[in-house]
Amino acid sequence: MVLCAFSIFGIVVLIVWQLVVHSQLAWNKFGLSFFYQVFTDSYTQQKLYWDPVNEHFSALPFIFGTLVSSFLALLMAVPLAVGLAIFLTEMCPTVLRGPLAFLTELLAAIPSVIYGLWAVFVLVPLLREHVNPLLIRWLGWTGLVGNDNPTGLGFLAAGVILAIMILPIISSLTREVMTAVPHSQREAVLALGATRWEMIRMAVLRNARIGIVGAIILGLGRALGETMAVTMVIGNSPEIHRSLLANGSSMASVIANEYAEASADMHLSALTEIGLALFIVTIIVNAIAQLLVWAVTRGTPRSAR
C-alpha cells in the first residue's frame, strides 16, 4: 500500500525528470529567449516563430494561442457556469435539480475527441456560415475579428469548444462552495428585507467568492492543458494574429501535431521544453485553484478583505 502511495510521487518525479533531460538541448541553445524570441524569414522578410527545417524555435505563438483560447473560453463559460450554479442552488425546483446537475456532470465525462469531432462537423460550419460573418460586420472595426480566414477554424472555435468543456467543472465546484454557505447567512440577509436577488448577491456570492475564483482557476487549468479538441479546431499554424478568427496553435496542440513526426533532435527538444513549460504552468494554476476551493469549503476565512 505504501508502495502504491509512493508510486504517485515516483511518477511525477519521473515525468519532470524526463521533460527536463529531453529539453536540455533547446534550453542550452536558446535559454530563456526560447519563450519570447522572434525570427525573420530570410526569404519573405516576415516574422517567423517556428521553422523546424531551419531550426528556428520560439514558443511565443503557442503561449499566445493557449492564453487567448483559454481566456476566450473563460469569458464565455464563467457567466454561464455561475448562472447555472445560482439557479441550481437557489431557485431550481427540487424535481429539476437532480436531472440538471446530472446532465452538467455528464458533460465532463464526454471524451475530448468527441468534443473535437462535434466541433469540426457542427460548430465550425456554424461559425463559418453564420456567426463569423455577423461578428465581422459588427465588430470588424475593432480589428479583433479579421476577414481573412474562410475556414471557420481558429481561436474563436477553440475558445467555444473549451468553454463547453470547462463549463461543468466550474459550475459543479461553484455549486459546491455555494452550498457550503451557511443557511444562517441567507436568513440574516432576508431578515433585513432583502429580495431574493439581493440575498444571492450579499449572502451567497459574497461568501462564496473566493471559492468561485478557485473554481474558475481550476477551469482555466483544464483549458490550458486541453489538447485533442483544441488541436482539431484551432487551425494549427504557428502564428500570432490580432484577429480571433485567425488560425493559431496552442502549446498542447503543437506537441500533439508534431512530436510523432519530429526527427531532428533540436525539434524534439524544443517540443519537450514547451511540454515542460505547460506542465509547470498547469500544476501551479491547479494548486492555486485547489487551495482556494479548500479554503472556502473548510470554513469561512476569519479576516475581512
Binding site: 444562517s184 440574516a188 431578515a191 428585507g193 449572502a203 475581512a304
Partner: protein
C-alpha cells in the same frame, strides 16, 4: 416607535406537521413580550411568522391574520417590506464574515439604497451605541471583520444591524442561548433599554430571563398557546395547570 401586534387565528404548517394551532394574542407596543415553552412547542415558528420568514421554507404554510400596527402582513404587503419594519435577531450570532463591522451594520441600509456617507456614519454609530457595542469597536470599525468579534459582541453586532434600518418591532429568537452568562446579562440589559423604543418579542428557554426582561409572557405547548398574561402573574399565579407544571420544572 414601536407598534402593537395583533394575532388572530394563526395556523402554521411544516409539510404535514401542524406546528401552530389557532394562536390568538395581542402583543403590546413598546414592551418586551417573552415566549416560553419546551423545545418544539412552536414558539420559534411563531416569531418567524411575524416577519414572514417562516415561508422562506418551501414546504411551510400559514393561515390566519397578523396585524402590525395597521398593516395586515398576510393580506396586502410584501415580505420584503415587512422585514424592513420587523427586525430579527437569531439564536446563533450570524454576522457577515466577509464584511467589516461598519459594513455589517450598514448592510440593511445599503439594501434600502442608502448611499449618503455622512448619514450612514451617523446611523452606524447610533445603532452601535444602541446595542452597547460602540465603545468596544469604534477604533476598528472598518478594519476588523464582523466574524473577528467574540460571540457576545457578534450578537450585539447583529442587534445593531437589525436596529440600523429603524424597525418598529424587534424579534429575538433565543438571542442569548449560545452565549456565556456575562454576554447574556449584557443582552438582557440591552433589551431593557431598547423596549422603550421598539416592540420586542423574545423567545427564550430561560424562564428567569423571561421574568427579568418581559412585561408579558406567553406559554406555548405542542403548537398551542396555553396562557398569555402579565409576566409576574404567569410566574407567581398561573391560571393553567400546565403552565404551573412547566414553570415549576415538572416537565420541559
Amino acid at each position: 416607535m414601536g407598534v402593537g401586534i395583533e394575532v388572530i387565528n394563526l395556523n402554521a404548517w411544516y409539510g404535514s406537521n401542524h406546528t401552530l394551532q389557532d394562536i390568538n394574542l395581542n402583543i403590546p407596543a413598546n414592551h418586551a413580550t417573552a415566549l416560553i415553552g419546551p423545545s418544539g412547542c412552536g414558539k420559534s415558528t411563531f416569531v418567524r411568522c411575524i416577519n414572514r420568514m417562516h415561508e422562506t421554507n418551501p414546504i411551510a404554510r400559514v393561515t390566519g391574520t397578523i396585524r402590525i400596527g395597521e398593516l395586515d402582513i398576510y393580506e396586502n404587503a410584501k415580505p420584503v417590506e415587512i422585514r424592513r419594519r420587523v427586525g430579527m435577531v437569531f439564536q446563533r450570532p450570524n454576522p457577515f464574515p466577509t464584511m467589516s463591522i461598519y459594513d455589517n451594520v450598514a448592510a440593511g441600509l445599503k439594501l434600502n439604497g442608502y448611499s449618503n456617507h455622512r448619514a450612514l456614519d451617523e446611523i452606524v454609530e447610533k445603532s452601535l451605541k444602541n446595542s452597547a457595542l460602540w465603545d468596544e469597536v469604534k477604533d476598528d470599525l472598518k478594519k476588523k471583520s464582523g466574524a473577528s468579534l467574540s460571540g457576545g459582541q457578534q450578537q450585539r453586532l447583529c442587534i445593531a444591524r437589525a436596529l440600523a434600518v429603524d424597525p418598529e418591532v424587534l424579534l429575538m429568537d433565543e438571542p442569548a442561548s449560545a452565549l456565556d452568562p456575562v454576554s447574556t446579562s449584557k443582552i438582557e440589559d440591552l433589551i431593557f433599554q431598547l423596549k422603550s423604543q421598539y416592540t420586542i418579542v423574545i423567545v427564550t428557554h430561560n424562564m428567569q430571563q423571561a421574568a427579568r426582561v418581559a412585561e408579558k409572557t406567553g406559554f406555548f405547548l405542542n403548537g398551542r398557546m396555553v396562557e398569555f398574561d402579565a409576566t409576574h402573574k404567569i410566574f407567581t399565579n398561573p391560571s393553567d395547570k400546565r403552565t404551573e407544571d412547566y414553570i415549576t420544572g415538572r416537565f420541559g
